[in-house]
Symmetry: C2
Subunit: 187 residues, 2 copies
DNA sequence: TCATTATAACTAATGCCATTAGTTTTTCAA
DNA sequence: TTGAAAAACTAATGGCATTAGTTATAATGA
């Protein structure tokens, strides 16, 4: 009675990610997702265990994509050049994937090792770039937190439209980075 | 049959705000709110026009509270001292009111003048503090965006638990601010 | 090849939620 | 004191996530 349509987890995640990015996270419901996939919503449960689990999958997917973007952008680069490349890649990611970007920051189950690992890969990438500045352990912690704050703060506010007219947006971001870098160097 | 319980908009907003801060935004539903107020959920519609409208009221309430906190904190202060005072007040607000803090950043209807005004009061407050540094118009725009990015980025990441163990959190924040201030001074 | 088994789709049903319609009760002002 | 406006209510609707139970398809192994 029901022809198999060949649904799988990857299709589900990619379709949901596209919805989250183009139409907003809140529009991603199992009902709307099932409609887009030409399937009845209970069928999704053969591949995911529910909406919270789908969100977790999206978050994980986003972390992996973000890591790839950052890694590619910073390949073969070091110091200021690496910092700027990473910052640009980060901002670009948040612009192209506003939905899954926001999902990457959702607090996750502390027992979820896969999520932990995906997050820490990004942290290590940042850490490896900052290593070029020869900071001690404590300074490195502060530097990572500061860098992430700048990246997330700027991306998040821009994405929410909090900056109003998009005048000289790039300049604002680069000046902020410049300030951060000059402070790094003084350490 | 139904004794009037004396519900009003203020009670509704304050109760909802408390739920948002203590139990999370997603737990604020008209059903749960009505239960907490000992009322049936349709009764809420005599005071608000629905859940989206309640969220808007919460956002407005948050913006007003945040403005007050920042204004009080920076009274009679200027330059670095004012910046640090504002930053501390901002971070404190996001810690004490994580729910409504997040709601203050929700994109709002561009025709909603009351929301516009509540947002711009905060912007003007920041602007007035930065005026002490005698920046030109363009530099001021960049400086405001940078300051807001740092404040929001740090607050948001801390609130989401993205910094992991809360080791030397205050230090990280103040170092970041210090970097920002030294950059301001160089302009 | 064919029978068995697992899997992936389905329908039906439940319960929660937001919202609307329509009713009753209370308050308040003329 | 009476009548209108407001604030509560019940009942009903429709959408959603999720579960249970059913059927069809695919995959496996004799």
């Amino acid at each position: 009675m029901s022809p198999r349509v060949g649904l799988n987890l990857e299709m589900i995640i990619k379709t949901a990610a596209e919805m989250a990015d183009k139409e907003g996270i809140e529009t991603v419901t199992l009902a709307s997702l099932a409609r887009k996939l030409n399937v009845r919503s209970p069928s999704l449960f053969n591949h995911i265990s529910g909406l919270p689990n789908l969100k977790r999958e999206l978050s994980l997917y986003g972390l992996k994509l973000l890591y790839e973007s950052l890694a590619v952008a910073t390949e073969e680069k070091e110091k200021d050049e690496a910092i700027i490349a990473m910052a640009n890649a980060y901002l670009l990611f948040s612009r192209e994937h506003p939905g899954i970007y926001e999902l990457t920051l959702r607090a996750h189950d502390p027992n979820d090792q896969e999520m932990d690992q995906a997050s820490s890969r990004i942290l290590h990438l940042i850490s490896s770039i900052l290593a070029d500045y020869h900071l001690n352990d404590e300074e490195t912690i502060h530097a990572i937190r500061g860098f992430r704050s700048i990246l997330h703060g700027y991306s998040s506010l821009e994405q929410k439209g909090a900056f109003g007219m998009p005048v000289k947006l790039e300049d604002s971001f680069h000046l902020l980075l410049e300030g951060y870098i000059s402070f790094l160097r003084k350490k």
